[in-house]
């Protein structure tokens, strides 16, 4: 492992960085499900950097599934958005790193999340705003499969395709945690509305990077279902 003071750390450093954050063990399953998706997004996909957190042209990443944020904080630390020293303060009274991310306290965090079902409709608004201003930046939002139970997503899914929001990508981390399974897989809900949808192994970095790469051949927004082991 590289030293913890190195501003740019690698994938192998993420689990040690997660281990520095204690006190929220009940969300271990929710945390580790997103680890590989988050890493691939920040390492290979998104056009963002610690030095450009206020650049209007940056890509936007919204973590809608705000519970279990330890891998998110680990990736932000590995990529230099926040100091590694912050991680051990996780959940503390004075810590910027709460059990749900706060956009006003953490550099690089675009939305405060935790109340499920808001990330996707917020991302629709952000995609509209960027398009209206002539900026070509992408908006990528991470949701959980059970989070799609929230009805607010249904409103956003239908509208995003109708509005031709090709800059919008939803990555749904599917750990089969929905109490009532979506028949035919959750991607069918997007496809019937006109989205481009693929399902990949949520632990396979090459497959994730390929699926998350920008598609420019149509106006359809994109869904990537990242399938991981079921939550226990």
């Amino acid at each position: 492992m590289q030293t913890m003071t190195d501003k740019r750390l690698g994938y192998d450093d993420l689990r040690p960085l997660m281990a520095l954050q204690t006190g929220d063990e009940k969300h271990d399953a929710a945390s580790t499900s997103t680890l590989d998706v988050l890493w691939v997004l920040y390492d290979e996909v998104l056009d963002i950097a610690a030095e450009r957190v206020d650049d209007p042209a940056r890509d936007r990443f919204f973590l809608s599934k705000g519970h279990g944020p330890r891998p998110y904080y680990a990736v932000l630390a590995a990529k230099g958005f926040i100091p590694v020293d912050w991680l051990a303060t996780f959940g503390g009274f004075d810590s910027p790193l709460g059990y749900h991310p706060d956009r006003n306290l953490i550099p690089g965090v675009e939305v405060s999340s935790g109340s499920l079902g808001h990330g996707l409709p917020l991302a629709v608004g952000a995609a509209l705003g960027l398009r209206a201003q002539g900026m070509g930046a992408r908006v990528v939002v991470l949701v959980g499969d059970a989070e799609l139970d929230e009805g607010s997503n249904a409103e956003a899914i239908e509208f995003a395709a109708a509005a031709g929001l090709s800059a919008l990508t939803v990555v749904a981390v599917d750990n089969s945690s929905a109490t009532w399974e979506w028949r035919g897989g959750l991607e069918t809900r997007f496809e019937v509305a006109g989205w481009h949808a693929v399902r990949v192994d949520g632990r396979d970095h090459t497959a994730l990077a390929g699926a998350l790469a920008r598609h420019t051949e149509s106006e359809a927004p994109n869904l990537v279902v990242a399938e991981v082991e079921a939550a226990s």
Partner: protein, 76 residues
């Protein structure tokens, strides 16, 4: 009151390129001309009040100044 609101909001759209108006079908016809003048800055999401509010918030996150409009009873 609605006529005055629509006229004022349309003036703001003409004056300030950061202003956007978000609608959920209510009053959409009153913004048809403004929508033609300012494509992308008048957004009608249909009868979707949850989306209406979140789209306004998302627009604001990109630096725009959204005006979100519907009848109060529709978002209670």
């Amino acid at each position: 009151m609605r006529e005055r609101f629509a006229a004022t909001a349309c003036e703001l759209l003409d004056q300030d390129r950061s202003v956007a108006v978000v609608l959920a079908d209510i009053s959409a016809s009153m913004f048809a001309e403004a929508a033609a003048r300012h494509p992308g800055r008048v957004v009608n999401v249909g009868i979707r009040e949850q989306l209406l509010v979140n789209v306004g918030a998302g627009l604001a996150l990109t630096g725009m100044r959204p005006v979100v409009h519907t009848f109060a009873v529709a978002v209670e």
